[in-house]
Symmetry: C2
Subunit: 481 residues, 2 copies
C-alpha cells in the first residue's frame, strides 16, 4: 500500500480498522509501550527484538522485564486480541509493514561519542526488507542530521530505492519519562519532521489517531530531533545550575532548598533541585549527541559540556559528604559500614541505568567501606553487584552511615528514631536527595550532611535521645557567622 497517496481521513479510517501494519524495532523501555499503544489504537503491530526472552515474554502478554504503570494490563489485552505479535525475525516484520518505527537504544561510547551502531544495524535490516511505499520513522533520540545523513543513505544503499520517491523517512522522537510513559504518550504533543511535507503530514495523522495527541509539524527531521535534545538539555543544564548553587551555598552556609523554594514565588523562575547526580538512559547521554554535531561545524557548546561535567562530579561530592559526616562522629570511610537506601536513578522506577548511586557505592568500596544496599524496587534481588537487602532494618543495622541515594516515596516518612537505634552510634546520615529534614536527623542524635545544605554546622555534639526541644548546637548552626 502506498500510504502517501491517501488523504488524512482515509488514513485515519484505515488505521482504526487495522488496515495499517506497523513494525516496531526494539522492544525496550520506549519501543514496547509504543508498540502496545499503536496496537491498542487499532493497528496490526509487529514488535521486533533481538532478545528471545523479551519476545517470548511479550507474546505471553507479560512485560515482567519492565516496570511501567499500566503497561502489563494493556500488553496482555493487545497480545490476546492478536493485535501485537513479537518476533526475532525483524526482516519478516519489516516486509509485512507499512510503517516502520526504529526504537533502538542510542548509547554513548567510552569516549563519550554517540554510538549509533544499533541505529545503523536497524537501518540495514529495514533497507534490505522494506517494500516500496514504506515509511520509516526514527523514534530513537539522535543528533540532528543523523536521520538525514546516516539512516537515509543506509536505507537507500541497502534497498536500491530512492527516498521521497520510493519510501518516506521521518523523525518522531519519543518525549516520555520512565514511570509515566503511557500517560505521557497519551498527553504530551509529539513533534514530527520528514523529508517532505506530505510524509510529515501522514506520520502526524497516524500518531494523532493512535495516541490522541497533538502533533507539531517541524520543518524537517533534524528539527524534530533538535527539539528532543533541546528540552532534555534544558533539564540537564538546569540541574547542573542547581548543583552549582548547592556547592556554592554549602560553602556559604546557606540552605539551597530554602532558596529555591523562595525563588519559585517569582513568575519567571522554574525550580530544579540539586542532588547526587543525574542518571538514566537520556540526560547523561543526550548532550554528547549535540556536542558531536556541533563539533563537526567547529562549534563547541561549552555550557552544555560544563553542565555535564558538573552533574558527573556530584557522586564524588556525595562521597565527600559521607567522609565529612563520618569525620564528625570520629570515624573514617575505611572500615565503616554504609547503608545505601535507594539505588535507582529515579524515584519509584525500577531502573539503574547509569545511576549515579553506583558510582558512590563503587567509590566507597574502593575506599574500604562495607556497603549494604536497600531499595524497595529490588528487595532481595541482586542489583549493581550488591545483594539488595529484604528490608530497611537489615541494611541499616550496625551501619556507621546511612546514605539516602534515591527519593523513593517509601523514604518520605523515614522512621528516623528507629534508624537511630539500629545504627552503630555515633552514626551519620547523608541525604543526597533532600528527602529528610536536617533538624529531625540532628534530633535523633545523628550527624547530618545533605547536598546543598549548610556545611558549617559547627562541631558535632551528640545529644541525648528523646530530649525535648531543639538542641542548643542546632540553634547556633542556623546563624553561625
Amino acid at each position: 500500500m502506498r500510504l502517501h497517496s491517501l488523504s488524512p481521513d482515509v488514513i485515519e479510517g484505515l488505521f482504526i480498522e487495522g488496515g495499517i501494519s506497523i513494525c516496531v524495532i526494539g522492544l525496550g523501555r520506549i519501543g514496547l509501550p509504543t508498540a502496545v499503544m499503536f496496537a491498542n489504537g487499532g493497528a496490526r503491530v509487529y514488535g521486533a527484538d533481538i532478545n528471545d526472552e523479551v519476545v517470548r515474554s511479550v507474546n505471553e502478554g507479560n512485560s515482567k522485564f519492565m516496570d511501567e504503570p499500566g503497561l502489563n494490563e494493556m500488553l496482555s489485552k493487545v497480545s490476546q486480541s492478536g493485535k501485537l505479535t513479537a518476533t526475532t525475525d525483524c526482516a519478516g516484520a519489516v516486509a509485512s509493514s507499512d510503517l516502520i518505527l526504529i526504537c533502538v537504544p542510542t548509547p554513548v561510547g567510552a569516549t563519550r561519542s554517540p554510538d549509533y551502531s544499533f541505529i545503523d544495524a536497524a537501518a540495514r535490516v529495514v533497507g534490505r526488507s522494506m517494500k516500496k511505499g514504506s515509511i520509516i520513522v526514527v523514534e530513537s533520540t539522535v543528533g540532528p542530521g543523523t536521520v538525514e545523513n546516516l539512516v537515509g543513505p543506509v536505507l537507500e544503499s541497502e534497498s536500491g530505492m530512492k527516498r521521497t520517491v520510493d519510501f518516506g523517512l521521518a523523525a518522531c522522537p519519543e518525549r516520555s519519562d520512565p514511570g509515566t510513559i503511557l500517560r505521557n504518550m497519551g498527553t504530551v504533543p509529539r513533534v514530527v519532521g520528514a523529508d517532505t511535507e506530505g510524509c510529515a503530514e501522514l506520520v502526524a495523522t497516524i500518531y494523532e489517531t493512535a495516541f490522541g495527541v497533538k502533533v507539531i509539524r517541524m520543518s524537517d527531521a533534524k528539527s524534530a530531533n533538535a527539539v528532543k535534545l533541546t528540552e532534555n538539555l534544558f533539564r540537564d543544564v538546569n540541574i547542573a545550575l542547581a548543583n552549582e548553587f548547592a556547592l556554592l551555598y554549602e560553602g556559604l552556609n546557606i540552605d539551597s532548598i530554602e532558596i529555591i523554594n523562595a525563588c519559585a514565588s517569582k513568575w519567571n523562575f522554574m525550580p530544579h533541585y540539586p542532588g547526587g547526580g543525574v542518571g538514566g538512559p537520556c540526560l547523561p547521554s543526550n548532550s554528547y549527541y549535540l556536542i558531536a554535531e556541533g563539533m563537526k561545524e567547529g562549534n563547541i557548546p561549552y555550557l552544555i559540556r560544563m553542565a555535564r561535567e558538573i552533574n558527573d562530579r556530584m557522586p564524588e561530592h556525595v562521597v565527600e559528604l559521607i567522609g565529612d559526616a563520618l569525620n564528625d562522629v570520629g570515624k573514617t570511610i575505611r572500615n565503616s559500614k554504609v547503608a545505601v537506601l535507594g539505588v535507582t536513578y529515579k524515584p519509584n522506577v525500577k531502573d539503574v541505568q547509569l545511576t549515579p548511586v553506583k558510582r558512590v557505592c563503587d567509590r566507597l568500596v574502593e575506599m574500604g567501606a562495607r556497603v549494604d544496599v536497600y531499595d524497595p524496587m529490588y528487595q532481595g534481588e541482586d542489583v549493581m553487584g550488591f545483594s539488595g537487602r529484604a528490608n530497611l532494618m537489615e541494611a541499616v543495622s550496625d551501619a556507621d552511615c546511612v546514605l539516602i541515594g534515591t527519593a523513593h516515596k517509601e523514604f518520605k516518612d523515614l522512621d528516623l528514631m528507629s534508624i537511630s537505634r539500629w545504627v552503630k552510634t555515633p552514626a551519620a546520615l547523608v541525604d543526597s536527595r533532600n528527602v529528610v529534614d536536617p533538624m529531625s536527623v540532628a534530633r535523633v542524635g545523628m550527624a547530618y550532611r545533605g547536598v546543598g545544605r549548610p556545611a558549617k554546622t559547627g562541631p558535632f555534639v551528640p545529644v541525648e535521645l528523646e530530649t525535648s526541644g531543639t538542641p542548643v548546637w542546632l540553634d547556633a548552626a542556623r546563624h553561625p557567622d
Copy 2:
C-alpha cells in the same frame, strides 16, 4: 520609637496612620517607586538622593527622569499630600526615620568585581545619623554575606551601637522588572531575612501592609540576598543556553525559534529566547556578586561564569551577522550605512544601561560603518553618543543594512515593503531580536540574517519586488541539506 517592641497589629495600625517614618536612600529606578509605594500606603517618607535635580523633580511631583508606567500619577499624589519629601540631606532624613531603606546602585567595576562603594557610603551616613531602635533594610542587590559582613560592621563602628540590641538589620531585595515595577511591587512576594527573627517579622509586617503582598521569611539576610541572585542567574544562564543553542543551530541550519516553540509544549520546559546580548542594571552584573563570594570560599561557579561569557559575546555575533548579510549583497561593513532600530536593553523601556546594542554600534563605527539610530523611546534625543532620528524613515533612508536591536512593540509590525524602498538596494536586514518573519524580509528583496536562524540560506538571489508567491530560493533554503 522602638519598633521591635511592638506587635504586628500595632505596627500595621501605626503604619496606616502615618505613625512610621521611612527614609529611602537612593531615588533611582527602584528607590523612587519604593518611596512612592510606601508613601501611598500611609507612611511618612523621606527620599534622600545626592542628585539635586532628582530631588527637585521628585518634590515637584514629577519623575521626568524615569519612565515607569503609573509612577508619575502616584508620585504627584503623594508629593502633593506631603507624604513624600525628597532631600539631599540624607543624614537629616535618617535621623527622622524609624525604618531606613538602602536602595543605592551596586554596579560591577572594570575588573568585574562588585563595587559596593555606594552601599558603604550609605551605611556610613546611616551609622552616623540613625537613632536607637532604627531598622535598616538593604534593598540593593548584593552578594550573600554583604549585609552581615559589610553593612553591619560599618553601621556598628559609625554609630557605636550594637546590632540586634540597638538597631535591626535586614535584607529585602527588590524583585521588580523595569517597565512593570509598580505592578510587580504590588504582586510579587518579597523575601526578608534579618539578624533576628523578630526583626524579620517586623520588616515583613511593614512590607505586607505597605504593598499588600506575601512576604517570605528567610533564615537570615544572606539567604534573602541569595534568592535574588539565584532567580536572576537562572534567567542569565537560561538566556545563555538559548544563545548557545542559537549558535549551534545556525551552523546546523536549524531554526532555534521553531525548536524552542515546539519544546514549550513539554510540561517541564520553560522557553527562553536567543538574542543579541543581555543588558540592564541586573543580569550583566549579578553573576559577579555571587562569583566573588564563591571565590572567597575557593569555589568557582563555572557554569554561571561561562553563561556570562556567552551572553557577553552576543553583540560580537550580531556584528558577524551584519558582515555576513552585507557580504550576501556584495557590500562591506566599511562604508556601509547601518540603520539601528532600537537601542534600549529591554523593549518599551527607556533605559540604555549596559545595553548590548551600544557594543554593536561602537564596533560597527570602529569597522568604518556609518550608524544611524532610531529608537521610539529616544525620538530626536541624543542617546549613547548618537543623535536619535525622529522617525524610522529618516534612519532607514539609504541604509545598506537595517539592524533590529530591540523588540519594541512599534517594530512588531514593521512595514518591510516601505523599508525595502527607502534602503539603498541591494540591502540587508539583520534581526537580533527575532521580531520579523525571515520569509517576509526575503519577499521584499532584502538579504536576511537573524540570531539563531538558519545561516546557510544558499546564495542570495535578489527577487523582484511585489512578485506573488514565495521565491524559489526560499523553498530551497528550507531543506538545503
